[in-house]
Symmetry: C2
Subunit: 357 residues, 2 copies
């Protein structure tokens, strides 16, 4: 494995005084990880260096043609002082799957994890202590070749940033209101929906803004072909509890394969709870609601872990769910997942990775 060089900072920044005001992804630590790719030479020169602006060509392909991918994960501070990552190998595997779709050369997953541990270790004093707060980790790759022809870049930067963050939704585990989007489309089969790449998020901004204007926190996307089948939320996968059965849209190529989604399914199965991954139409949800069978709905994602949905709006139909309360399954999943993440509970082998081990 390549040696990871460390350039120490001359002075360290002041840490945030009030951890309750951290917000999400707004404050950055003292260091970042950077590695370059050059055609012919491959990925080279992994280095941890002081966090700061980067200098790139104004013709860099990421600025014009969006050739870029990213990941999102967290480091958690356990009560006993350990610093834990949650299934980090899954994130680097997914990063390489995104790379493949976006014609970006694969990274060495082992080197990436090793670099991440070293980076988090150096910045460990930045991991917040407040409840539900953690160190958000953002690995990303951008195309840097400074040419304007449309083609894959022949140079890239792989960077990891760290950001001490509070809960994603200011309201914590309070149920969120979600708006079913009927005009805009996020992704379609044959497109880039299952890759974590910039364009998917850029295209979603307008729908998100329109939802906010109507006082909804996020948008629930329908499929791009028939605009009938449920896909996912802005930055979460979605689950429903219908008549005692847990259902979630199957991975069909246009949905992000969430790691919290996967962990949720695995936990539910380990509890003997039936989970179906299948095609779910929004009409089916409305019918289940009308029949009084839609007892819970929740989103899953790194940022908010489990996010109970307290209201769905589809066209003119407003569907309150769970009477403002968190459902039993949502609550048990939240407690278990956060318990494992913060090291209070033992999870399945390999889920918790101690950065010092």
């Amino acid at each position: 494995m390549q040696e990871i060089r460390v350039e120490l900072a001359k002075t360290l920044k002041d840490k945030p005084v009030d951890e309750s005001k951290l917000g999400f992804g707004q404050v950055f630590t003292d260091y970042m990880f950077v590695m370059e790719y050059t055609a012919g030479q491959g990925w080279h020169d992994p280095v941890i260096k002081p966090y700061g602006p980067i200098s790139i060509s104004p013709a860099a392909m990421c600025l014009h043609y969006g050739q870029e991918v990213f990941e999102g994960m967290k480091a958690y501070r356990a009560d006993d002082g350990r610093v834990l990552l949650f299934r980090p190998e899954e994130n680097f595997k997914r990063l390489n799957r995104s790379n493949k779709r976006m014609c970006i050369p694969p990274i060495d997953e082992e080197l990436a994890l090793c670099s991440l541990k070293k980076l988090v270790d150096l910045d460990r004093d930045w991991i917040p202590k407040a409840k539900d707060s953690s160190l958000y980790i953002r690995p990303f790759i951008i195309a840097t070749e400074g040419k304007l022809g449309v083609k894959s870049s022949d140079s890239y930067l792989f960077i990891i940033l760290l950001s001490p963050s509070g809960p994603y939704y200011a309201s914590g585990l309070d149920p969120v209101k979600i708006y079913v989007e009927s005009s805009y489309v996020r992704a379609v089969r044959g497109g880039t929906g299952e890759a974590k790449t910039g364009g998917n998020y850029a295209s979603a901004l307008i729908a998100q803004e329109e939802a906010h204007e109507q006082d909804y926190a996020q948008v629930l996307w329908l499929d791009g072909v028939e605009r009938k089948y449920i896909e996912e939320v802005g930055a979460m996968n979605i689950f429903f509890v219908i008549d005692g059965e847990v259902v979630t849209p199957a991975l069909n190529g246009s949905i992000l394969p969430g790691i919290t989604r996967k962990s949720t399914i695995e936990l539910l199965q380990s509890w003997g709870q039936k989970v179906s991954e299948r095609r779910i139409s929004i009409q089916e949800i409305a019918d289940a609601y009308d029949a009084g069978k839609l007892t819970e709905c929740f989103g899953t994602g790194t940022a908010a872990v489990i996010s109970p949905v307290g209201e769905l709006k589809w066209q003119d139909k407003v569907m309150p769910i769970g009477g403002g309360q968190i459902g039993a399954i949502s609550q048990k999943l939240y407690d278990t997942l956060t318990g494992i993440q913060w090291g209070r509970l033992d999870g399945p082998a390999g889920w918790s990775v101690d950065i010092d081990a």
Copy 2:
């Protein structure tokens, strides 16, 4: 209108000696235009300054969420020394339409055109003299706010780059081979297809690479819903001549509204040639081919102007068109458009804009 400041370079770069080796978008001039946007303050501080790298936050939203738009146009050197732009107002209008879709604040189109003229003037010695060569112009806007939450940025950079360029296809007006893409999808209604934004191009790279492997120059996209109807080529709109009628896909929301497309339609109509903008299935093209009625096919775009298509491949069906020759309509359009662009012919009022006028 805001005053455009100019920072002169201390030394100028050497100009390319061999204009036949320019390629496309690889060499940049001495200057670039830069203007900043800050929430509350709006667009401010337009400046022309030496071309060089830009410094941005590694958390800049354009690097993660692809909030970015661009344009492509050219400056042409006429035989009598005039420097001409082709319908530049159309490009800035389209930039603002892209901005709207991508939640980017609109620019002042008049200021943009004025800045562009001033920039091209300062760099006028860079405009190549070789036949079919011109100064490629790349206006673009990127989201620069350094935060990781998914939302519209509250700061942006609007930059214009200039690049002396040769013909887009090394083979010039020789017919190109195009591959009809049946698996990957570029855009879908409700998505961002009609905006000129990075994600549309990033998602297309993989199909383009697979086409190249089969020795095809570009991909012809089908619609995202039924994968039946013709949309456009990588960086060109597409036209067919069937039984004496010119047809092109209607603007349906997922196709880029090309300025060369629009000019082509207007020219054909002014010649009394019937043009239909409508839905065209790939099956219809194959049937027309089988019936011997598909006499011409060509792409339209700023880069190559008119690009005759000499072969279409759809699944296993290979359809050579025009017997390796350029069709009469394609040739007349090419001669007329390039004639107007280089100032040899008079076009409709307003098409040619002299930067000194």
